[in-house]
Assembly symmetry: C2
Homo-oligomer: 393 residues x 2
C-alpha cells in the first residue's frame, strides 16, 4: 500500500426532505448571503428552488440566483457568476443540481476570491489558494462532485475541457435527498449508474499490490450498483434503491475507495473525446469504452480481472484457464450495461469508426504513452476505439 | 434506509514515516502550543516521542508533555491535563498512542474550554459545545478513536465508565503509520483485530431494511480483517497486512459503514461488565461475548445471519435448512477468533460462571429491556453469558 492523505470534510445530510433544512446548514457553515446556482428549468418547475428560497428566508439569509448551467459547464457562465457574487457580496455558493452545476459553483467559488482570471486554475497557471465555501443540494446520482475535490469546466472559445482540484473545493455540506432523483428518466439514471461504476473501476485497476481493504471497498460499491440499478430502471419510484445508489455515488468518488494505490483514469480520458465529438452523455460513452478498454488491457494482469470476475460478477474461477474467467467477467459487465439500457458499441452510441483517428489525434499522445494501469500508445488507444466500435454481446 | 448525517472532517495522514510530519500538520490545523499526551513508557523508549519533539521543534511549535495514560483512561489524569493546558496556554492536544490516549486527549480538550467539571459531559449534565482541536499519532489499530466522535473515560472513584460524543471531538488530523504497530505483541494485535470486527458487526446486525451499500461496506472491512489478521499473527513485520488492518480499523468506526441504519452495540455493553470485573482486554472479552450473542439472537433474523455466513465466511447456503447456514457462519467466526489466539469461553478468558448474576445486575436492566437488534431482558443477557461461559469449537 502506498502512503496517502485522505481528507473529506464535507458534512453529508442524507434522506427524505432534507433539502428543507438548507437554511440551517448554510448558517452553520458561515453563509450569510448566498448565490443559488442551478441548471435548466427542472429545478424551478419541480418547486425545488421555491423550497430553497423558503428555507433561506426562514433563516433570514439573503440570496441571489443564477440558473442556466449546461452539461459540460461553460466558462462564460462562471464569469457571470463571479461578477454577480462580487456585486452582491455573496459569501457561500449553493449548487442545486448535478455534477455540472456543482463544478460551475466550485469555479465561481475560486474566481470570487482571485484577482486574475479564474481560468488560470484550469490551465495550470495557478493553484487554488482560497475559495468561497460551497454547499450542495444534489439532484442526480452520477458525477460524485458532491463529495470530490474536483471541478471540470469547458472554455467556450475552442470547447477546451479542463479540470482543477483542491481540498479547498470540497463542499462544506452536501444535501442528498434520493426523492429528488426519482423523476430522472431511465436513460439518465443508467448513465449516472455507469459513471458511478466507472469511478470505481478507474481505481480498482491498479499496479499497486496489497491493497485489500480498498479492493474490497471498491467491490462493495460495485455489488451495490449491480443489485440496485436494475431495480430503479424497473421501478423509478423505488426510494430505497435510489437511496443506495445515491450514497454509493458519493462513496465511489470521494476517494475512500481509492486511497493507497495508483489509479488509472484512461477510460475517462478516452471517453471524453467521444462525448466531445458527438455530444453524447458521458455515462453512455463510458458504457462503450470501459469494457473495450478492459478487453484490451486484461492480459496486463489476468488475475486482477479474474478477481473482478469472481468477486463482482459472480463467475466461477476457471483454474485451468484464468483468462477465460477474466473475459467472462468483462462479458458480464457489458451484458449488465446492455440490460440497463446502455449502448455497447459505436452504432448504438451514434459514433463513427472513421472518426477514430480524429479522436486519437485530439488525445495528444503523439509518440509517447498515457500513464495508467497499462501504459497506452496512440496505437493502443486506436485499438481500444476499434474494439468499442464493433463490440457485441 | 433511514435519514442520516455523516461528517468525518479529520485529515488522515497515512503511511511510513508520516509521524515525522506532525509539526506541519499541527501548524496547518492552527496549533501553536501543544500538549503531547501519551501512555506508558513504550512511546518514549521506542523513540517516537523524540521524533515528535524534533518535528515540533523544526516548526518552532512549543509543547509540554503528559504521559501515564492507563488502559480505561482515568478522570484523575484528565484533571491534571486540563490544569497543565490552562497553565501553559496549550491550544492543541496531540494524542500519541491508542484509543485510551486519544479518549483522554478528547476529555482534556473538552475540559480546557469548560468552566465547570469536564465530567458533566460524561454523566449527561452537559453537551459538548466547544473543545480544543485534537491531533493524533496512532500506535494501535483497534479502538477507532482516531476517526470517531467518541471518548470513554473511567471515574476512578467507583470505577464508573462513561462516554461522551460530539463531532467537535473528531480529530483535526490523525497520523497512521502502520510501522508503529509492528512491535505490538500478537495477543494485543489479535485483540485489536477483534475489536475492529466487533465495531462492524455492531452495525451490521440491524432491523433497518434496504441498506445494501452499508451492508456491503461492512462486509468489505470484515473480509479484509479475515484475510490480513492471520498474516500479521504469523509475521508481525508484514507491513502491508498491518497497513490494511490499520486503515480498516478507521473505516470500521468513523461510521461510514454504519449510516442509514439502526445499530446494535449490545455485545459491547455486555462485554464491558466482563472486562470491568476481571481487567481483561476489551477485544478478548468481545471474542467470548460476540459469538455467544450471535447464537442467542440468530433466530431473530435467520436470513441476516445467513448473509453473514455466505458473504463473509464463505459458507454454502443450505436452502433446505437456512438456520444450519446461520449457525455455521457463527461457528466459523468463533473458529477464526480461536485461530488468531483469542479466548472463546470463560475458562480461557479467566472469568467465572458464578459471577454472571453480578454482571447482569451491574448492567442495570431491571425489569426492562436493552434496545438493539433484538431487545434483551436480564434473563436474555444471563443466557448469553451462559453460552459464552461454555462455548467450544
Amino acid at each position: 500500500m502506498e502512503n496517502f492523505n485522505f481528507y473529506s470534510p464535507t458534512e453529508f445530510v442524507f434522506g427524505k426532505g432534507r433539502e428543507n433544512e438548507v437554511g440551517f446548514y448554510v448558517r452553520k457553515h458561515g453563509g450569510t448571503k448566498v448565490l443559488i446556482h442551478y441548471g435548466g428549468g427542472s429545478a424551478v418547475r419541480s418547486g425545488l428552488i421555491d423550497k430553497v428560497r423558503a428555507s433561506l428566508d426562514a433563516e433570514g439569509i439573503g440570496y441571489c440566483e443564477l440558473g442556466g448551467v449546461q452539461p459540460n459547464p461553460r466558462d462564460t457562465l462562471v464569469y457571470k457568476g463571479i461578477d454577480l457574487c462580487k456585486a452582491e457580496g455573496v459569501d457561500l455558493i449553493l449548487a442545486v443540481g448535478g455534477g455540472s452545476v456543482i463544478d460551475s459553483a466550485k469555479a465561481i467559488a475560486i474566481g470570487v476570491l482571485y484577482d486574475g482570471d479564474f481560468w488560470d486554475h484550469y490551465c495550470g497557471k495557478a493553484e487554488v489558494k482560497q475559495a468561497l465555501p460551497v454547499g450542495v443540494i444534489l439532484t442526480i446520482a452520477a458525477a460524485g462532485s458532491e463529495g470530490s475535490p474536483d471541478t471540470v469546466i469547458t472554455k467556450e472559445d475552442g470547447m477546451l475541457k479542463r479540470g482543477a482540484g483542491s481540498d479547498l473545493l470540497r463542499a462544506r455540506f452536501s444535501i442528498l435527498d434520493p426523492e429528488l432523483t426519482q423523476t430522472l428518466p431511465a436513460y439518465q439514471t443508467a448513465c449516472g449508474a455507469t459513471d458511478i461504476m466507472a469511478h470505481v473501476f478507474e481505481r480498482y485497476f491498479t499496479n499497486t499490490p496489497e491493497v485489500e481493504v480498498t479492493d474490497r471497498l471498491c467491490e462493495a460499491v460495485l455489488l451495490t450498483m449491480i443489485k440496485e440499478t436494475p431495480r430503479v430502471i424497473a421501478d423509478p419510484d423505488n426510494y430505497d434503491a435510489r437511496a443506495n445508489i445515491m450514497w454509493a455515488g458519493m462513496v465511489a468518488h470521494n476517494n475512500i475507495v481509492g486511497v493507497g494505490r495508483q489509479q488509472d483514469w484512461n477510460s475517462h480520458g478516452i471517453e471524453h473525446e467521444l462525448s466531445g465529438l458527438y455530444d453524447v452523455a458521458h455515462g453512455a460513452g463510458l458504457a462503450v469504452i470501459m469494457p473495450a478498454w478492459m478487453e484490451y488491457v486484461h492480459k496486463h494482469d489476468v488475475m486482477r480481472f479474474c478477481q473482478m470476475a469472481v468477486r463482482v460478477f459472480g463467475c466461477h474461477m476457471n483454474f485451468a484457464d484464468p483468462e477465460a474467467t477474466a473475459m467472462e467477467g468483462i462479458r458480464r459487465f457489458r451484458s449488465f450495461l446492455h440490460s440497463i439500457g446502455m449502448p455497447i458499441n459505436f452504432a448504438e452510441l451514434g459514433a463513427k469508426e472513421e472518426d477514430i483517428p480524429v479522436m486519437v489525434e485530439k488525445l495528444g499522445i503523439g509518440s509517447g504513452k498515457r500513464a495508467g494501469f497499462m501504459e497506452l500508445s496512440a496505437e493502443d488507444v486506436t485499438e481500444i476505439y476499434r474494439i468499442a466500435a464493433h463490440a457485441s454481446l
